[in-house]
Amino acid sequence: MSLVQGAHPQTTQPAEGARAALLAWPEFNKPAVWLVAVILLIMPFIASGFFLIEIFATTLILGTIALSLMFLAGYGGMVSLMQLTIAGFAAYMVAVFGMSANTNISLGWPWWLATPMALVLATAFGTLGGALAVRTEGIYTIMITLAIGAAFYYFTNQNWAIFGGHTGINTIATPKFWGVDWRSDIPYYYVTLGVAAFCYFAVQYVSRAPFGLALQGVRDNPRRMAALGFNVNAHRVAAYAFASFIAALGGVLQVWNYRQISPGSVSVGACIDILIIAVVGGITRPIGPFIGAFIFVILRTFALDLLVKFGLDGNRFRLLIGLGFLAIVFWSSDGVIGLWERWRRRATATDKRPGGGHGHG
C-alpha cells in the first residue's frame, strides 16, 4: 500500500482508512449506479431490435475492447493501438476453428471448443505483441503497436489460406444450446451485457489487487519500482496478457454479432476508433470506455440522418463526428469522465473548499 501512497502523496488524508473499505467498490453505494444497472438489465423491454443490438450491444462490445486499452493506458501508462487487432485476431480464430460458409478454411469445431481456442490464441498473440512493445516507451509504444495493427491488416488482406483475403470469412456459425439461439436479439444482448460486466468488474478488481497497484507504481515511477525489487517488464507483459484477454472477449462477441469477418474490421482506421473511444470516454476509470463507446456509436449511427434533417449534404457526416470528438477533447483532456468529475468537484467546492484532491484510478 505504501507504494501507491508514495506515488500519490496528495491522496494521503486521515479519513482515508475508514473510507478504504467502501472505496474498494465505490459503485455499490451510489443510487445512480443501481439505476444504470437496472436500466441495462431491463433494456430488452424498453428497446427494440435495432436499438438493442446496433446501439446498446455494439456499445458494450466496443466498450469492452476500449476497456482493454483503458486498462493498459490508465493503469499501465502504455497506449496500445493493437487492442482492436487482438479482438480481430480472436474473431478470425473463431471463424477459422468454428463453422462457416468457407469450408476450405474453417475447421468446423463446435463453438465450445473453438471459442476458448480463439481466446487462448488471441491472448497469446497480444502477450507476444506486448512483450515486443514493453521494450519501448511513450510514442514508441504507440508506433510499434500501430505497426502490429497495420501489418495484421495487410496480412489478412492478402492471405487467402487462413484469413480468406479481402473477401474474409462469411456465415460464421453462432452458439445454439439449451434450446436457445444465442444470437437472437435478446439472449445476445444479455451475453454482451454479461461479458461487458464481467470485464468491467475484473478490471475494477485487478486495479485494486496487489498486481494492479504494482502496475500503477510502474506507471508512475518505473525506476523506483525496479529499485524496490519489482520486475517492471514482467508486470507490463502481464498487463498486456490481461488486456488481450478482455479484447479477445470483445472480438468473439463482435464476430457473433456480424457472423462475418473481413479485413475492413481490423483496418488501421478501426484501431484508431478504439483509441478515440477510450480518449473521449476518459482513461482514468473503467466506465470511461463504455461512455465513449456510447457517444461514438450514437454519432456514427445518427450523424448522417441529422445532417440530412437540417437540409445539409449527408455525405459530410464524418465532419460532424470529427467536430463532436474535437469538442469533447478540447474542453476536457481526460474525456467525458473528466468533465463530469470537474463538474462534481465544482459542486462540492461551493459547499466547502477542499484542496485539489485528484487521484488516478
Binding site: 488482406n157 483475403g165 479481402h166 473477401t167 456465415t171 456480424y258 462475418q260 474490421s265
Partner: protein, 416 residues
Amino acid sequence: MFKSCAGLVALSSLLLSGAAIAQEKIKVGVTATLEGTYTVLGEDGIRGHQTAINTLGKKVGDKEIEFIVASTDATPDSAIRAVRKLIEQDKVQILLSPLSGDEGIAVKNFAKTRPELTFVNAASGAQETTYVDPAPNFYRYNMDGAQWQVGLGKYAYETKGYKKIATVGDDYSFIYTQVFGLVLEFCGAGGQVTNRQWVPLGTKDFASVIAALPDDVDAIYLGLGGADAVNFLNQYQQAGGKAHLMGGSIMVDQTILSAKGNAKNALIGTIAASGQADTWEDPGWQKFVKAYQDAFPPNKRFPSPSLLATNYYNSTMALILALRQANGDLSNNQAKLREALAKIELDAPNGKIKLDSNRQAIGTNFVTEVVDDGKGALFSKVVKVIPNVNQTLGYDPAVFAKIGVPSRTVPECKKY
C-alpha cells in the same frame, strides 16, 4: 409539463400514423460505395438509379416506393453494416445492394439469414455470388465479371495478335472473376499469360508493381478500378510505360475515361470488354444516355453513363417493373414479387437481360476500343457485340464446374 409533452408526442404520432395510412409506402434500401477507393463509381451508380426513377416514376398502383440510400466503402464489413442498418433502423422490405464484388458475396450470405426479405443486386459482379451456393432471395440483373470479358481474349489473340500478356489487378473477387473470363478465352485460343500481379484494393503507390512488369509481353491487362486505376495510370506514364494495354470492365469505363489530367490518354487504343459500349448506336442505349445526360448538369455527371450507372439503372428498373407486376403485394414472404423478378425479361439499354435458374443475368457483352472524340473526351467504341452470354460462358456446366471458383491462380492458362 411532462404530461403535456407526452400528450403532444402522442398526438403528433397519431397524426403521423394517419398520414401513413393514407398512402402506404414500399421501403427499399439502396447501398452504394460513397466512401473510399470506389467513391466515383458509387456516385455514378446512384445517378443511374435516379435516372431509372425519373424514367419510370415511384408509383406502384396506389402505393409509393421510398428509396433510402446508405453508404459503404467496398469492404464486405461496411456492406453488411449498411444493409443491417437499412433493415433494422429504416425497416426496408427490399434491398437494392451492393456495388462491389466482395460486398456481393457478403450480402448474398447475409440474405440467407433474412429469408423474408428480397435482395436485388445493384452492380456487384463476383462469380461466386450467384454461382456457389446461391441465396434463393437474391437476384442479379447484371452479368458477372467473367461474362463481361467474353470476346476480349479471342479479339486480342486473333485480331490484335497479342500472344503473351501479363495482368495487374486489384486483389479481390470481382477482378479474379474478370481475369478468370479473360484467361479462359485467351489461353483457350492459344495465348499465354506469363504473370499475374495482385495489388490490395486502395493501393496508392504502384512503383514496385510497375517496376515488376515484364518487358517480354505483347500487352498488359489492367484489372483496376476507381482511384486505384487513376493512380496506376499517372505513375505508369511518369515511369514512361509504352506497352499495349488491355482493360477490364471498370478500367475502361467513364469513371476512368473522364478522370481529370492527361494520364487517361495512356488508355487511347486500349481494347477492353464490358457489359456496355459508350458509342453503341442502338436506339435503346442512345435513349438511356440522353435520359442520363438530361437528368444531371454536365459538371455533375460523366459525358456518358458508366457501367455502374447502367447496372443501377437496370436493377432499379427490374425492381420497379416487378413490383408493378406484383401490384405491390409483399405478403406471403414477398412470393408474388419474387415470381415476377424471376420471370422478368428486361429490355435494358445494354441489350436484353433474363435470369437463369440461379437468378443470374444472361445478357449481351461488348468488345470495345478506346477512342478520342477529337475534343479531348474519351469513349469506348464498339468492336463486337456478343448476345446471350450465360454464366458458364458457353461451356458445358460440368466442364465449367471443374475449372473451379475464380481466385489468384484459377483458372490455369490452358484449354479446358
